[in-house]
């Protein structure tokens, strides 16, 4: 029997007589371990640290001493470690498998970068130490700034923004400051945003009080240059455009777009989320970009960490360079200096628009990004762009006969499909994506961009091998074939093999439970 090994032990699940319905006493399923909330693991008197009660001091706390118990649970170190290890086992990760989220650039995160960020000279340095004691930290920031400026062909950079959206805010603030310096602040109140834009673009413009005006696409996934020209006028402050765009396409007319925008007296903000596709091959400065944020957690591989921390430095053109916010690092005769005040900036010949955050930005992310850049070098970074584009086009070419590609290729670093191939199958984009979970893959980006119906946006990144991508392609082809079979449960009930089935998001929003509550009032427990 083919299902038996030499010892006669059954090798397949069906033959072992087991079934998916089997339950266990603990609720665990082998390595899949259930874990309660940390608050439900409370043992009175347990503690995960050894600290001695302080002695020999005169309290200076005044009348401000806390009166109530906080309610934190007590656990020993092994219990805490086990809790979080068990939680970790319920997560998908790029280290474990392909994570093809379009526009998110989930690539390999080298551990060298983690090690470098933890060097005491970087990780254990206070932002307000005397400047003579942090020359190496400023050198690192200045070096990273040099790499970013060189790769983008733009002369200035604001390092402090804490994430992509924060970078957008910074870039748009600089644009508004430049417009106000020209005395056109009252007049220019409109910002143009293509319909395919990330949600952060209109949200950022709106936060600054701009009226958001949507530009139609050309029907082929790109901005319609003529539609854009019609929208331009003396009341337009800026255009916010992603390039390569969220359909995974390079905006062919981008130089003409930039020209038209500049002729209208407006500025060109580029969302740099997709810089990975062109790094080392195309410099945004050569495209006429005035400001662009760079998601260090995408292109330069600082870990996504389950949703942050990110980092979003913004590069600026000559026109916007004087408005770069505080603080920034300058170097004179080998000595680094932190420009932290308006007076210092004035002496340096700039007029910063303000300050984005306390301190100097995401230093921990800077170290990781620079380690990544130095490892790749100019040649490796160019290869990053080429391999990421090659991998995406390979996916596109290998699937377009069975899935519906939204636009004619070639694509850049991500391949966009819509749900036409699911028509009549009763399977929707969401079901298709959830079935991928059962096959061991994280779903692609779904229902974004909004310009195509039921979007499936696949970004494999350059750190996937051909062998890995071939299996991914074969898996998707098998799933597509299955949508046309009678086994609809494979999709409608998916995922079947994840730590949790589909979660009731409507119930979560209708009656939000946002924290754990003790069953008895805390006072009663005392």
């Amino acid at each position: 029997m083919s299902g038996m090994n030499k010892q006669g032990r059954p090798t397949s699940f069906a033959e072992s007589g087991g079934g998916a319905e089997r339950t266990t006493f603990t609720g665990n399923k082998g390595l899949e371990l259930e874990e309660p909330l940390i608050f439900e693991r409370d043992t009175k008197g347990a503690c995960g640290v050894d600290l001695d009660e302080p002695e020999g001091y005169q309290p200076k706390i005044g009348k401000f001493e806390r009166k109530n118990r906080i309610g934190l649970p007590g656990l020993s170190e092994p219990e805490v470690v086990r809790h979080f290890v068990r939680l970790s086992s319920k997560n998908y990760s790029i280290d474990a498998g392909l994570y093809p989220l379009g526009s998110c650039t989930m690539k390999h995160n080298p551990r060298l970068n983690e090690k470098m960020a933890r060097l005491p000279g970087f990780g254990d340095v206070h932002p307000l130490q005397p400047e003579q004691t942090v020359q190496g930290a400023m050198e690192l920031i200045d070096t990273l700034a040099h790499w970013l400026k060189t790769l983008t062909g733009l002369p200035a950079v604001a390092m402090s923004p804490k994430a992509g959206a924060h970078g957008e805010l910074c870039g748009m603030m600089a644009i508004r400051a430049a417009i106000e310096a020209k005395g056109e602040g009252e007049q220019r109140r409109r910002v143009l945003v293509p319909e395919s834009a990330h949600g952060t673009n209109p949200a950022t413009a709106a936060l600054l009080g701009y009226k958001v005006d949507t530009i139609k696409g050309d029907g082929n996934g790109r901005v319609d240059l003529e539609a854009l020209r019609e929208k331009l006028g003396p009341d337009v402050a800026a255009i916010m455009l992603t390039n390569p765009n969220t359909c995974g396409l390079f905006e062919r007319d981008i130089i003409d777009i930039a020209k038209a925008v500049h002729e209208a007296g407006a500025y060109f903000y580029c969302d740099g989320a997709n810089f990975n596709a062109i790094v080392g091959r195309v410099r945004p400065g050569d495209l006429g970009v005035d400001a662009m944020h760079i998601n260090l957690h995408k292109t330069f591989s600082t870990p996504h960490g389950g949703g942050g921390p990110g980092a979003g430095p913004v590069v600026f053109s000559e026109a916007l360079a004087p408005f770069v916010p505080l603080p920034y690092v300058v170097q004179k005769d080998g000595v680094y200096d932190l420009i932290e005040t308006e007076d210092e900036a004035e002496a340096d010949g700039t007029s910063p628009f303000g300050r984005m955050t306390a301190f100097h930005g995401q230093m921990g992310m800077f170290v990781r990004a620079l380690a990544y850049m130095m490892s790749h070098g100019s040649d490796g970074l160019r290869q990053v762009a080429e391999d990421s584009v090659l991998n995406a086009n390979y996916v596109l070419a290998s699937l377009k006969d069975v899935m519906s590609a939204s636009y004619e290729g070639p694509c850049m670093h991500e391949a966009l499909f819509d749900d036409r191939f699911l028509k009549g199958t009763g399977v929707e984009t969401l079901d298709f994506a959830k079935a991928m979970i059962d096959e061991g893959y994280h779903p692609m980006t779904m229902y974004f961009p909004l310009v195509v119906h039921g979007a499936l946006l696949i970004e494999p990144t350059e750190t996937e091998s051909k062998q890995g991508i071939d299996l991914f392609i074969a898996t998707l082809r098998d799933l597509v074939a299955a949508t046309k079979s009678n086994d609809k449960e494979r999709f409608s009930g998916a995922p079947h093999f994840a730590p949790r089935g589909r979660l009731d998001e409507t119930a979560a929003a209708r009656k939000p439970i946002l924290r754990w509550q003790p069953e008895m009032p805390a006072q009663a427990a005392d």
Partner: protein, 452 residues
């Protein structure tokens, strides 16, 4: 290149499938004028050893806090982080996971966010907390924007107790998001601030920090009462979250929004970032709260699970109508916070706070005895202000020469105000030993002799 798996053979095969002769063909949509044939002017690839060597050289040029008696605070604090924290946050499943938009395969992230929200609400004495912001200063800015939305007013009052760079962030937002600000001058320990008289029917919120920038603890209750009487909110800012293990939380003093810097728990100094912004409020303001929220629900089998929720407030759904443009939280930093706080528990956290206070109290007593040095504070937690008979910057530089990082001169953050020139802000946490305190006192005494 060690991070790139494709071989030249792979590339050729793949180009064949695509039907392209070369990779250049795939870039044909790039306008000719912008195509670059050669490499950009930067160094070429390097092996792990070379990169490590170069970056280690840079790092070695800095004075690491752990190598010297260290007393620097003013919004970032050096605490001991247990080894298991840094180990756990480096697990692949946490480190290399994305935002938990697919809850079936990200319950790990979602559950710790739920635990984090609960912990933050508990510490601050509030009802709900979000899944974190970028840092304390940006959380402070978002709190003011939220108060403007809640009250439909456009004028905030900033106390002189507020960290000047936090105030800078709010100023920046005020300028660009078009709301008015009244900023009180720095308020030194012992001096009273008449902020109550500034609250009018047009005030959206009053922003007060505790412990204040100069370390002084404040009673927020009368300010909260005055604000509420005029329909305004009280925003309380807590830059040192360890303080809440010993002092009354803002939630018990009438605060409507509490924001804070969570770096002290679980996170290193990192030269200013990444940190973790804490944001908590009352249940009734929930729908005006910015940032990510994680909620409890059930899955298709009726098992408890967690999801991101109330995302109809957020930019990816609401676009220009969102409550904030924020997309990320500070995921891994809040994980570090949650793990460290779980290790501490009620007993450890409150004791840690007492140790911090004890160390600061002992240090204050020692330094106050030095000629030309006066401690200004009446009530403080782990940070206090010295008035020196010399410019503080000069003293701090001289101390650094002697191998002691002695604090932050107020003039570094408050510019063009001669009245703060001689003020030095000093922090002491559990990391400081008797030997550190002796070294500091000796170096300061010597320095004062030299400069007087």
């Amino acid at each position: 290149m060690r991070y790139l798996p494709l071989t030249d053979t792979d590339r050729q095969e793949m180009l064949g499938v695509i039907g392209a002769k070369s990779v250049d063909e795939l870039f044909r949509d790039v306008p000719e004028a912008a195509r670059r044939d050669g490499l950009v002017d930067l160094p070429k690839r390097q092996g792990e050893l070379e990169v490590e060597r170069a970056l280690s050289r840079m790092a070695a040029k800095n004075v690491a806090a752990g190598d010297v008696p260290f007393f620097v605070g003013a919004g970032a604090y050096r605490h001991h982080v247990p080894a298991s924290v840094d180990h756990l946050i480096q697990r692949s499943e946490f480190l290399t996971s994305y935002t938990p938009y697919q809850p079936e395969v990200t319950q790990g992230t979602l559950q710790y966010l739920f635990e984090f929200q609960t912990q933050v609400a508990m510490l601050t004495g509030m009802e709900v907390a979000n899944a974190s912001m970028y840092d304390g200063s940006t959380a402070c800015g978002e709190a003011v924007l939220m108060a403007n939305r809640v009250t439909k007013r456009k004028k905030a009052v900033l106390s002189g107790t507020l960290h000047p760079q936090y105030a800078g962030v709010v100023h920046n937002l005020a300028e660009f998001a078009d709301f008015a600000l009244e900023t009180m001058p720095p308020v030194l320990p012992g001096a009273a601030e008449d902020i109550v008289s500034r609250i009018t029917d047009e005030t959206s919120c009053v922003v007060v920090q505790t412990p204040g920038f100069f370390g002084e603890l404040a009673d927020l209750t009368p300010i909260a009462e005055a604000a509420h009487a005029k329909g305004a909110l009280l925003v309380a800012v807590v830059p040192e979250i360890v303080s809440l293990g010993l002092v009354t939380p803002p939630g018990d003093m009438g605060a409507d929004i509490v924001v804070g810097e969570g770096q002290s728990i679980g996170n290193g100094l990192n030269f200013g970032g990444p940190y973790v912004g804490l944001f908590a409020t009352r249940q009734k303001y929930l729908r005006q709260m910015p940032g990510r929220l994680c909620g409890e629900t059930l899955d298709s089998d009726g098992k408890r699970g967690f999801v991101l929720t109330l995302s109809t407030r957020e930019q990816h759904i609401r676009r220009e109508k969102a409550t904030s443009n924020i997309c990320t939280n500070s995921g891994l930093c809040c994980l570090a916070f949650t793990i460290h706080l779980s290790l501490l528990g009620e007993e450890g956290y409150t004791r840690l706070a007492r140790i911090n206070h004890a160390n600061a109290a002992k240090l204050a007593e020692k330094l106050d005895a030095i000629e030309g040095v006066d401690v200004l504070n009446d009530a403080f937690f782990n940070e206090f202000t010295l008035r020196l008979q010399a410019p503080a910057k000069k003293v701090v530089d001289a101390l650094a020469e002697k191998g002691v990082l002695g604090g932050v001169p107020a003039s570094r953050l408050i510019h063009g105000d001669p009245s703060v020139e001689n003020l030095l802000i000093v922090a002491s946490t559990e990391i400081n030993t008797d030997a550190d305190r002796d070294a500091y006192a000796q170096a300061l005494a010597e320095t004062m002799k030299e400069v007087l």
